[in-house]
C-alpha cells in the first residue's frame, strides 16, 4: 500500500505540464481519448442507449455484455477503412434504446448483438485520423478505457438503482429515459435522409 502511494507520488512529481494543442483546449492524448466517447451527440447517445440496455439485466448477466463490449471496442479500434459516420452510432443507439424501453432485460441474443455492434462502432469512431503512431496509440488507449469505463458506470448505476431502491417508479423512469434516448437518436438519424437541404445541412 505504501509502495503504491509512493509510486503515485513519484508519478505526480515527475509529471510536466501539457504544452501541445488539441481539438479540445487543454486536453490531449490519453485524456482526449478518454473523453472521446462523449465528445459527439452520436457517441453520447450510443453510450447512454447501451448503458440503459445493459443495465436492464441482472448483475450476473450484465457482466457478459460488458465483456462483449470490451472485446468489441478493441476490435473496432483496429478499423482502418476511414471515418465511421455518426449515422452508424445513431442507428445502433436507436435500436438499443428502443429495446431497453420496450423489452428491458429480455431478448439476450439481440441485446448481445447490439452491444457488440455498438462496441465496434465506438471503437472504430475512436481511431485518430492522423499523427504519430505513438500518439495515436495513446489516444486510442484512452478511448478504449473511457468507453469501457463509461459503459461500466452507466450500466452499474442503473443496476444499483434498480436493486437497492425498491420504489415502483424507478423501472418506469428508466424505461421512459430509454424511450427518450430512442426518440432523439431516431430523429437525428432521420436528418441524414432529409430531402430538405436546409434540414439536411444541420
Amino acid at each position: 500500500m505504501r509502495a503504491a502511494s509512493l509510486a503515485i507520488l513519484a508519478i505526480l512529481c515527475l509529471a510536466t505540464p501539457a504544452g501541445a494543442h488539441s481539438p479540445v483546449p487543454g486536453i490531449e492524448g490519453f485524456y482526449l481519448g478518454l473523453l472521446h466517447p462523449i465528445s459527439t451527440p452520436a457517441q453520447a447517445l450510443l453510450m447512454l442507449g447501451l448503458g440503459l440496455l445493459t443495465g436492464g439485466l441482472a448483475k450476473a448477466s450484465a457482466r457478459w455484455l460488458l465483456i462483449a463490449f470490451f472485446v468489441a471496442t478493441g476490435a473496432g479500434l483496429l478499423w482502418t477503412s476511414g471515418a465511421v459516420p455518426d449515422m452508424a452510432a445513431f442507428a445502433v443507439a436507436t435500436l438499443a434504446s428502443t429495446l431497453a424501453a420496450l423489452a428491458a432485460g429480455r431478448y439476450f441474443p439481440a441485446m448481445a448483438a447490439l452491444v457488440v455492434l455498438g462496441g465496434l462502432v465506438v471503437g472504430a469512431m475512436s481511431v485518430p485520423e492522423g499523427g504519430l503512431l505513438r500518439e495515436r496509440l495513446i489516444t486510442m488507449a484512452g478511448s478504449f478505457i473511457g468507453a469501457n469505463l463509461l459503459l461500466l458506470y452507466i450500466s452499474g448505476l442503473v443496476i444499483i438503482v434498480k436493486e437497492r431502491a425498491s420504489r415502483a417508479w424507478i423501472p418506469i423512469a428508466l424505461r421512459v429515459a430509454a424511450a427518450w434516448v430512442a426518440a432523439i437518436s431516431a430523429m437525428m438519424l432521420a436528418i441524414y435522409f432529409a430531402p430538405n437541404p436546409s434540414v439536411a445541412s444541420l
Binding site: 424501453a101 418506469i172 424505461r175 421512459v176 427518450w180 426518440a183 430523429m187 437525428m188 432521420a190 444541420l202
Partner: protein
C-alpha cells in the same frame, strides 16, 4: 426581524422584475437556442399540451402497466412521426389529428374507459404520429438540431409526468371526480381546436 428581511427580499425581487427589459439580441442558434426552441415547442401549443397531459392522465387512470407503457410508446412513435415530417412524407390532416387526440383522449378519461393495454397503446401511438409530424415539419433551420430534439422530447415527457402526477389523484373519490373533470375539459378544448376557435 426575519419577516422584515423576507419583505425586503421580496421587494428587491419584484423591483428587479419591474426594471428588467426584454433581451432582444438572441438568434436562437447554438445548443442553448436549439434546446429552448425545442423545449417550448410542445409547451406553447395548447393543443399539444392538452394531448400530452391527457396521455399521462389516462395512463395513471388505467394503472399499471399503462401508466408506463403509454409514456414509453408515445415518444418512440412521436419520433417516427417526426421522421415522416423531416423526410417530407405527406401525412394528411395533421392539425385535425392533433385536435382529435385531445377530444378522444379527453373523452376516454371523462368516461373512465378501461381500454385493454394494446388498444390504449395503439390509440396513443396513432395520435403521437400527428404530434411528432408537426414537430418534424416545424423544425427551425437555425436551431441546433440535437439540442432541439432533446428539448422537445424532454418537454413532452414533462407534460406526461404532469398528467401522471395529477392522474394519481384517482386513488381518492374526490380526486377521481377531479381527474374525470379534467378529461372533460381537455375534450372540450379539443373540440375548440377542431373548429378553430382556439
Amino acid at each position: 426581524m426575519r419577516s422584515k428581511t423576507f419583505i425586503c427580499m421580496t421587494l428587491l425581487v419584484v423591483f428587479s422584475f419591474i426594471i428588467s427589459e426584454p433581451a432582444l439580441a438572441h438568434s436562437g442558434g447554438g445548443y442553448g437556442g436549439g434546446f429552448i426552441s425545442g423545449f417550448v415547442h410542445p409547451i406553447l401549443g395548447w393543443d399539444h399540451v392538452a394531448a400530452m397531459v391527457a396521455v399521462g392522465l389516462w395512463g395513471a387512470f388505467l394503472g399499471a402497466p399503462s401508466i408506463w407503457v403509454l409514456p414509453v410508446v408515445f415518444p418512440i412513435v412521436m419520433a417516427f412521426g417526426a421522421i415522416l415530417g423531416i423526410l417530407g412524407v405527406p401525412v394528411p390532416a395533421v392539425e385535425t389529428g392533433i385536435a382529435l387526440s385531445a377530444v378522444v383522449l379527453g373523452l376516454m378519461i371523462a368516461f373512465a374507459v378501461k381500454a385493454p393495454i394494446w388498444m390504449s397503446a395503439v390509440l396513443v401511438g396513432l395520435f403521437a404520429i400527428f404530434h411528432g409530424y408537426a414537430h418534424g415539419t416545424e423544425l427551425p433551420a437555425s436551431a441546433n438540431i440535437f439540442a432541439y430534439a432533446v428539448g422537445f422530447v424532454i418537454a413532452t415527457g414533462m407534460l406526461h409526468m404532469i398528467g401522471i402526477a395529477f392522474g394519481l389523484l384517482v386513488k381518492w373519490p374526490a380526486g377521481r371526480v377531479a381527474v374525470r373533470s379534467a378529461g372533460g375539459a381537455i375534450s372540450l378544448a379539443g373540440v375548440a381546436f377542431l373548429v378553430g376557435a382556439v
